[in-house]
């Protein structure tokens, strides 16, 4: 393989061409993804698969199986259990007391990747004795990561790295209390899987599918341009019950004036919002 191929990085017009091609051939629209990050992902695919720009176009059109791999690489699937422990602390202190007054608590984790966040919430709800009346929906555009999420089996190496996060949340015991460990893998306890459902949902093209008391969409907006964020905020707004909660990532905020009026800030630092108005 020509070594120079690995050094190829895409130009803006080439990226534009790829976006259009993927839209036409596969029906996935990446045009409102943030460009610097998208470019990194595309450059990375070319490097990993040892493809030139022309090779990449060719396989995207002619190799149907390649697209799933492409989708997996293009969308960032890096996630952690209890990422940002302070967020889980404030969920526990500021949100769960209100959610507990509902008869049923439906939670939507949008962009759930391999399920770590869904199970983190499931653990939190269990510790607060809210498991029985809660249900968590995890959605992602990527079918492969959802398979991982449904399994709920993670490498022990990963669990070790999540253990520190868990410790910082102040929850009792240790993260391993919620897993069955076999050799170098850890499986989430079945009771924590009971109230979860994972399914495909594309935030860009799919619509409302239920009404929720809380929506968590963390570290997804960072990949979207502001206009697309607003379209998705509209979807979230309509999917929340009155006074329902919206949780964004640690560095994500609602920028649009329109939606700033429709959501009350519950925790500025952790970006927890509550739906107001109608």
């Amino acid at each position: 393989m020509d070594a120079t191929i690995n050094k190829d990085t895409l130009t803006a017009p080439q990226i534009f061409e790829l976006i259009n091609l993927v839209k036409k051939v596969h029906g996935f629209d990446f045009s409102d993804y943030t460009k610097a990050s998208l470019k990194r992902r595309l450059d990375r695919i070319m490097m990993l698969k040892k493809l030139s720009f022309y090779d990449l176009k060719h396989v995207l059109v002619n190799n149907p199986d390649f697209f799933q791999e492409f989708l997996e690489e293009i969308t960032v699937n890096v996630t952690e259990m209890f990422r940002d422990p302070a967020f889980y602390k404030s969920l526990n202190n500021q949100v769960l007391p209100y959610l507990s007054t509902y008869q049923h608590i439906k939670i939507w984790c949008a962009g759930c990747s391999s399920g770590e966040e869904v199970y983190s919430m499931a653990i939190l709800l269990k510790e607060e004795q809210l498991s029985k009346k809660s249900f968590i929906y995890g959605t992602d555009i990527n079918t492969e990561v959802l398979k991982e999420a449904r399994k709920g089996i993670y490498s022990l190496r990963k669990i070790k790295s999540y253990a520190e996060n868990y410790l910082f949340t102040g929850l009792p015991g240790s993260i391993t209390d919620h897993f069955t460990i076999m050799y170098d893998a850890a499986a989430i306890h079945n009771e924590l899987k009971d109230n979860t459902l994972f399914s495909v949902h594309n935030l860009i093209s799919d619509t409302i599918f239920n009404e929720f008391q809380m929506i968590a969409c963390r570290n997804v907006f960072i990949y979207f341009e502001t206009e697309l964020q607003e379209r998705i905020l509209d979807l979230f707004y309509k999917s929340l019950c009155p006074l329902g909660y919206l949780c964004l990532g640690n560095k994500e905020t609602i920028r649009s004036d329109f939606f700033r009026k429709k959501f009350k800030v519950i925790n500025q630092k952790e970006n927890i919002y509550q739906k107001i108005g109608s």
Partner: protein
């Protein structure tokens, strides 16, 4: 030692200063921050390797010791021209062509998130020659490739002289691949900054 006029000119016309450092760079970066005049009129973007959940007081310490405003990097935040930014822990910081910051939680690069390479490479695309980048002490190779991209796009690229670096690997890696246009001693780095 007097600096050449070329380097001073390039520094003076730079709109952005990028600083990358890891092990052994913290005190030096703090001294740099202290030395910036309030009207530096450049965007300073600092990427230091830092651990998640390690709630260090870096931002607070820098803010207390800086004459320039220290602003937080969040998603789609507009990049101001006379301000200092520090890449947040557990994210990669990218520069978007429209003058905003972008963040990314993808895989660590050289075991680091934030990675210096990631920020430098995206800065190279956007700032081209209007930028100065300094790579300081560190114990891995992060930043070298990024510095090379910056150099290729016309930026002024500087590596701290390995004799002065507490950890030599990071600046040395940049020097090895000819990513640094200049190799400066710590005193020369300060001299350059003061020449603004």
């Amino acid at each position: 030692m007097a600096l050449k006029s070329n380097i001073i000119k390039h520094w003076q016309k730079s709109k952005v200063l990028l600083v990358g450092g890891s092990a052994g760079s913290f005190k030096l970066i703090l001294r740099l921050v202290k030395s910036f005049p309030h009207d530096l009129n450049k965007t300073v973007i600092i990427v230091i390797h830092r651990k998640k959940n390690f709630f260090s007081e870096i931002e607070k310490l820098f803010a207390q010791n800086s004459c320039m405003p220290l602003l937080e990097i969040s998603d789609k935040e507009k990049i101001e021209s006379n301000a200092i930014y520090i890449a947040p822990a557990n994210y990669h910081t990218l520069i978007e062509k429209n003058g905003h910051f972008g963040l990314d939680v993808s895989e660590a690069v050289w075991y680091s998130r934030p990675s210096i390479d990631v920020t430098f490479e995206s800065a190279a695309e956007v700032y081209t020659q209007n930028c100065t980048a300094i790579l300081l002490s560190g114990a891995n190779q992060d930043g070298a490739e990024g510095l090379l991209k910056l150099r290729e796009s016309g930026a002024l690229t500087i590596a701290q002289h390995p004799d002065d670096a507490e950890m030599t690997e990071m600046p040395q890696a940049a020097i090895n691949i000819k990513a640094a246009e200049y190799i400066l001693h710590t005193t020369e780095i300060f001299e350059l900054i003061q020449s603004a």
